[in-house]
């Protein structure tokens, strides 16, 4: 960390490949001089730090340097066949009616997207176009929310190609959920997607992000979403990580939330070989109520890490953090949750609970809750548990004639239900419970 700037510490094949990809692509990556400078600064951080590894505290349980054997080349624009396959993407939502905004290998595909006619107050565009047009929204916000010290975010900034740029005007209520559908094609490539969502004062919107791809391809995704939630706004955000079985997925949500707002975010992790899901949430205005939840279902050799940093800056906000994971086979689940209550954030009410259910002797759960409290009039708490299925409950169900596999399925669904019930949208809640039921059934 203290190495002089001119000393390069890049050494793994993946690090070299990422550096080459940036050098080769930087001239054609979208954006003007200011963006190019932002990219260069971000790349410098990566060049200095390299990929995060286990001696970096925030990445202790997810050693990306070891897990990322190689860096895939930047994805080429999707061809007609890839687009055709993407037509059916997003099916994990069941029959929830959404406005589809489709990206294939990180590139916006207007012909698969439903963005021609929008509700009043809503604008939806692509990041590539906004960068080319020097959209003032980007100048004002891009890169301002995501933590500058995080190398995964830095790589995203250096190499971002496309993404969504969404604005919900003051006071607008968008009835139909917006659905960012991010699909990987068969090409084993890397995509760097960056999105910006600005929800102005008093507006209301639901934003769903879903990530998926073919099971046989070891593609890589680095997605970052920056979100501004205005005063009195109401935002529901749901991210579904349903990547293909061999995929590496790193994604980041960075949000700045205003006063008297309602903010709910839910991450559902079910796919991918290696998943790192980062949330950086800043509560900058008073009297906001937030629900920050997640459910993870993994098996085999899957690795899924949820890293959450909640910073209470303003007073009188309430946040509830509930993260549950079900781990089978030799899966490894990680939860790191840090709640920071800054000196001015009196009357903060923050409660964090993380629970892991281990279905196998070889599965591993690492839970690391942290509270950093610098104010004296607050209510904060956290709890963490890890354990197996309750044998007595299982016996009770079996004594009523329910076979063992079905009894376990009921208990697993009930366990995750506590987190999923926090989603306000009934259709989406049911769709996710169906995903859970499908996972449990496939396990038996």
């Amino acid at each position: 960390m203290n190495a002089p700037a001119d000393v390069t510490v890049i050494k793994t094949a993946a690090e070299t490949a990422l550096a080459n990809a940036y050098t080769e692509a930087r001239a054609r990556l979208p954006g003007g001089d200011a963006i190019a400078a932002q990219r260069a600064a971000a790349f410098d951080l990566f060049a200095k730090e390299g990929l995060p590894h286990r001696r970096v505290e925030e990445w202790k349980y997810t050693d990306l340097r070891a897990l990322m054997r190689e860096a895939k080349p930047l994805a080429s624009p999707p061809d007609a066949a890839a687009k055709a396959r993407a037509r059916t993407a997003g099916q994990m939502l069941g029959d929830v009616e959404t406005r589809r905004i489709v990206f294939v290998d990180g590139a916006f595909v207007p012909e698969l997207s439903d963005t021609a006619v929008l509700e009043r107050g809503l604008t939806v565009g692509s990041l590539a176009a906004a960068l080319a047009d020097r959209d003032p929204l980007l100048t004002a916000h891009l890169g301002k929310l995501a933590p500058g010290s995080d190398v995964a975010v830095a790589l995203n900034t250096a190499l971002m190609g496309d993404g969504a740029v969404i604005r919900v005007g003051a006071g607008s209520t968008i009835e139909r959920p917006l659905h960012l559908i991010l699909v990987a094609s068969e090409q084993p490539a890397a995509s760097f997607v960056r999105s910006l969502v600005v929800v102005e004062a008093g507006a209301r919107v639901m934003l769903i992000e879903s990530h998926e791809g073919p099971p046989g391809s070891d593609y890589q995704v680095n997605a970052a979403l920056e979100m501004i939630v205005g005063d009195g706004a109401h935002v529901d955000h749901v991210k579904i990580i349903g990547e293909g079985a061999a995929a590496l997925h790193v994604s980041t949500l960075a949000a700045a939330i205003g006063a008297k707002a309602r903010f709910n975010t839910f991450t559902f992790t079910i796919g991918g070989a290696v998943v790192r899901n980062q949330l950086f949430l800043n509560f900058n205005g008073e009297d906001t109520v937030a629900g920050i939840r997640g459910a993870t279902l993994i098996n085999g050799h899957q690795h899924a890490d949820t890293t959450l940093v909640v910073s209470h800056v303003a007073r009188s906000c309430q946040s509830r953090e509930v993260f549950k994971s079900v781990l089978d086979g030799e899966a490894h689940g990680v939860f790191q949750g840090r709640i920071i209550v800054n000196p001015g954030a009196q009357q903060t009410d923050a409660k964090m609970m993380t629970r892991a259910l281990l279905l196998s002797e070889r599965a591993e759960a690492d839970n690391k809750p942290e509270l950093e409290i610098f104010a004296d009039d607050v209510q904060c708490g956290h709890g963490a548990t890890a354990g197996a299925l309750d044998r007595d409950l299982k016996f009770y169900l079996m004594a009523r004639g329910i076979p063992e596999a079905e009894a376990e399925a009921l208990l697993i669904q009930a366990f995750l239900g506590e987190a999923i019930e926090g989603i306000e949208h009934a259709g989406l809640r049911e769709a996710l419970m169906d995903c859970v039921a499908g996972w449990v059934k496939a396990r038996a």
Partner: protein, 252 residues
Amino acid sequence: MALLEIKNLRAGIDGKEILKGLDLAVNPGEVHAIMGPNGSGKSTLAYVLAGKQDYAPTQGEVRFDGVNLFDMEPDQRAARGLFLAFQYPLEIPGVATMTFLRTALNAQRKKRGEAELSTPEFLKKVRGLATTLGVDPDMLRRAVNVGFSGGEKKRNEILQMALLEPRLAVLDETDSGLDIDALKIVADGVNRLRGPGRSFIVITHYQRLLNYIVPDVVHVLSKGRIVKTGGKDLALELEARGYAEYQEEVAA
């Protein structure tokens, strides 16, 4: 042929023997009461019959409906018609009572090769039973036993029994924690199910329940064995004189 036949059953938990050579035969349609002091093995017997993990038989034989009971998993025993009303019914957060009841009933029917009940048929049946047993329909929408009072939990057990229509019901201290009104409701529920095709083992510490569920046979269980068997008057005798003499008898 006896519906349930227990011969020289020895069983326990964690290597500690609790049942020490128990014999019992229950014929179809009979109601047997098993009474005994705390620690005599009443609940152990109930758990061994239902197949709770860790309650392992070490010796002896139990045949239920002509089949070796220990060859069957708990769910198979249930589907064959064995029901245990738990002394301490468990709370299952996140599982709605209706889902639980329907899953249980349909799993049993499926295992017996019967058709699953349609939703309207099922709802009608459950609602009817709930009314009879004084179970608040609101309870059926809540998670299994979560937030239920002790009496409500016991009534929920009887509701499950009535729905599942077992051939042998083992009631493990169903009277404990019930006030007299709840006790009457529970006893009514049991009596309504009495018939030539259904047998009961009523495990209780007190004689009170047997005023309402009148048994055909009363057994005294002490230190893991049945030490006396008699008619319904034996229960009254025990109520008047206590268990002391039976405990001594075994010790002597």
